[in-house]
Symmetry: C2
Subunit: 378 residues, 2 copies
C-alpha cells in the first residue's frame, strides 16, 4: 500500500498490517491441514453475526459481539459449500495481499466465481452469496475488509485545514478549490497519514449539494473546521476517516442531517455502526459524534414556512419507532423527545428547507449558532 516498493524478486514489499493479515489467513488455512493430518473432519467456528450475539456495551459505548459461534463443517452436505466459499474468499484475499492490489467486493466475486471442475456447480451463483462470506471472514480472522484489501464504493469529499499524505502524495485539503479531495475507500493509516491539522472540529453533512453550499461560503475557513460529506449514507471509507479524525486528531464530529428517520439512521451508523456488522464498530464507530440537526423543533424555532413540510409516510413512522428503540437512543430522554416530536409533527424537514430563509442561512446562522450554544444531541 502506501510506501510499498518492489522487492528484488518482483513481489511487493508487505507492510506490517499486511503481514499480520496474511498470518491470520495462513493460520486459517493451517486448520485444514492440521485436521487432515489428524484424520479429523475440518471445520470453522465462525463468530455468530446474528442480532442475538450482539450487545451494546454501555460503558465503552460500542457494539460488541458475544461468544456464540456457528460451526461450518466440510463433511456436512448442508455446510460443505459455504465451507468451501469461506476458504475461497480467504485465498482470494491472500492473493490480493500477495500481489499488493485491492479490489471491490464485486471484483472479488468475479475473481472467485467459476464452475467447479467436473460439475455444473458454480462457486457462487451471485454476489449476494459472496458478500456474507466476506463478513464471516472478517470476524473469523478479526480484520476489517479494508485490511483484506477489499474496497467499497467511493463517495464523499473533504476540504479544510488538514494536510495529509495519500499514497505518498502530499495533499493540502485547504487548497482543493470547489471540487475537494475525493475521500478514498481505503483510508487505513498505511495508506493515509495525517501530516498537519489545525482544525477545531469536523462538520459532516449528509449530501454533496449541502456540502457545496458550505464550501462555497468558505464555512470551513471562517470556522476553522474540516468539512466532509458522504453522499447520503456515508460509505465505509468516510466513516473510517471520521473515526480517525476523531480518535487520532481528537476532533469533535458534528453531523448535519435531514430531520427524518433516514437522517437519524445515518447518525446512528456514524455513532455506533450497523448492528449486523457489530464487529467493525470498534474501529468505525464514533460514539461521541454529535447530532447538530436538523431537529424536530426547528420548524418552530427557525420559523419556517408551511411550504417546506414533507408529510411522514407509514414507513417513516415505523422506522422512527424502530430507531427510538436502538440501545444508544432508548435511554436518552433527549432522543426520545426528538423522535416523538417528529412523530407528533407528522412531517419531516430537509436541510435544504433552510434555504427558504436565506441561501446561506444554514452556513451563516443555523450551524454557527447551534455550535456556539452547544445545542446538539448525542
Amino acid at each position: 500500500m502506501a510506501k510499498r516498493t518492489q522487492k528484488s524478486n518482483g513481489k511487493p514489499r508487505l507492510s506490517k498490517q499486511d503481514r499480520h493479515t496474511l498470518r491470520q489467513l495462513e493460520q486459517l488455512a493451517h486448520t485444514v491441514v492440521q485436521a487432515a493430518r489428524r484424520h479429523r473432519a475440518p471445520y470453522l467456528d465462525i463468530p455468530a453475526r446474528s442480532l442475538s450475539n450482539v450487545r451494546f456495551n454501555k460503558t465503552r459505548r460500542i457494539l460488541e459481539m458475544g461468544r456464540n459461534t456457528n460451526r461450518r463443517q466440510l463433511f456436512n452436505l448442508n455446510q460443505a459449500k459455504s465451507y468451501m466459499q469461506t476458504l475461497l474468499v480467504a485465498s482470494g484475499c491472500k492473493r490480493l495481499i500477495d500481489e499488493g492490489k485491492t479490489t471491490s467486493i464485486r471484483g472479488l466475486y468475479y475473481m472467485l466465481k467459476h464452475t467447479i471442475k467436473g460439475t455444473k456447480e458454480e462457486t457462487f451463483d451471485e454476489q449476494a452469496e459472496c458478500d456474507p462470506v466476506i463478513e464471516d471472514l472478517e470476524v473469523l480472522v478479526r480484520c476489517l475488509r479494508e485490511e483484506l484489501h477489499l474496497y467499497a464504493q467511493k463517495k464523499g469529499d473533504m476540504v479544510g485545514p488538514l494536510v495529509l499524505v495519500d499514497n505518498g502524495d502530499q495533499i493540502d485539503c485547504s487548497r482543493m478549490g470547489s471540487g475537494g479531495y475525493g475521500i478514498p475507500s481505503i483510508v487505513e493509516p498505511e495508506r493515509i497519514q495525517f501530516k498537519k491539522c489545525t482544525a477545531d472540529f469536523v462538520l459532516h453533512v449528509e449530501k454533496d449539494t449541502v456540502w457545496q453550499r458550505f464550501n462555497e461560503d468558505k464555512f470551513w475557513k471562517k470556522h476553522n473546521c474540516i468539512l466532509t460529506h458522504g453522499g447520503g449514507q456515508p460509505p465505509r471509507g468516510v466513516r473510517r476517516l471520521l473515526y480517525r479524525l476523531h480518535h487520532e486528531l481528537e476532533l469533535p464530529i458534528y453531523c448535519l442531517l435531514d430531520n427524518d428517520p433516514w437522517g437519524y439512521y445515518i447518525y446512528s451508523v456514524i455513532k455506533q455502526g450497523s448492528i449486523n456488522l457489530a464487529f467493525e464498530s470498534q474501529r468505525m464507530a464514533v460514539p461521541e459524534a454529535r447530532y447538530l440537526g436538523l431537529r424536530s423543533k426547528d420548524f418552530q424555532e427557525c420559523e419556517l414556512s408551511e411550504s417546506v413540510k414533507i408529510g411522514l409516510t407509514d414507513t417513516d413512522r415505523k422506522r422512527a419507532r424502530q430507531i427510538a428503540q436502538y440501545p444508544w437512543f432508548a435511554h436518552k430522554k433527549k432522543w426520545q423527545k426528538e423522535i416523538q416530536q417528529l412523530l407528533d409533527n407528522d412531517f419531516k424537514l430537509e436541510v435544504e428547507a433552510l434555504i427558504s430563509k436565506d441561501i446561506s442561512y444554514v452556513t451563516e446562522v443555523y450551524v454557527p449558532e447551534r455550535i456556539a450554544a452547544g445545542d446538539f444531541l448525542d
Copy 2:
C-alpha cells in the same frame, strides 16, 4: 465565482459570463414591462423541448432544436401558473447571480416555494414541477443551468497529468493519491482554468470501483492520460469537463463501460447528450468520444468463462433495440452489429468480469491493446 472580489458596496463583482446571463434574464423581465405598457397580454414563447422539435444535425453531429415554440400566456387560466413559475425561477436565478452564490435545483425549489399571498396555492407543489421550468428557462435565455448558478449532483473523480486552477487554488491532478480530485458540478471556465496538461488522452470509466483499479495500477502514469469516472451515469459536471478536455485541450476521449444497454446509453449521453435536453448538447456533447468497450465480441475474444455471463432481461432487450434506433447509431454498421450481437449473445458483461482473467487484466492488457490497435466504436 473564480476570482470574484467584493465591490465597495458589498456586492460581488460580476464576471463577464454573469453579466451576460443577467442581461438575458433582465431582457426576459423586460418583456413583461413592455407588454404592460402597451396594454398587451404578456406572454413567453418558449422553444419546444419535445422530441418533434429536436433534430440530429449529421454534419455537425450534434442535436439541434427546431424553431417550434410554445406560447405561455399570463392571461390564460391554464398557463397563468406556469407563466408565473417561469418568471419566479428567472428571478431566483437573478438573485443567485446578484449574490454571487450557487445552489442545487433542490435548493432553488425551496428558495422559491411559498404559499401565494391571499390564497392556499403553492408556487410549486413539488420539485418535479420546478425542474422542467428550469429547463424552459435554459432554452428561453440560452444559458446552461450552470450559468444560471444552479449546480447538479457532485459525483466523479479525476487524476492525471493535468494542473488546473479551481476557484483560485492550483491543483495538480498527478499528485492526488488514491482519492483523486473530486470533479465539481460547475466546471465553467470562470471557475476552472486548465493550466498545464501533458496527457495524450482521457480514459473515462463508468464506475468508481473500476477507476480505483486503474488508479491503483497507475495506468494514467504509464499511459500518460487523464483518468475520470462519473459514478455510473456521469453528472453534468463530469460531462462538461470531458467536453472541455476534448475541445480545449484536444484530447481524445475513450470510454470504458459495461457491455449492456446501460453502458451504451451512458456512451450515447457523453457523445450526443440526452434528447430532451438537446439544447445543452452543443456545449456538453463530445460526438468524437470513442467507445472502447466492453464489446459484445469480448466474451469470445477475451476467452471469458461461462460464469461471468449475466442474462439479458426483457427490459434490456427493449432498451437495446431502442438505442439501436438513435440517429447517431442507426446508420453505423459497426454499432448495429455491436447491438445485434448483444441481443444474439442474450447476455451482458460488466467491466469487472475481466477480473476473472486477472486482477489487472483490464489495465495491463485489455485497454492498452485496444487503444494501440485503434479498436473502438465511434
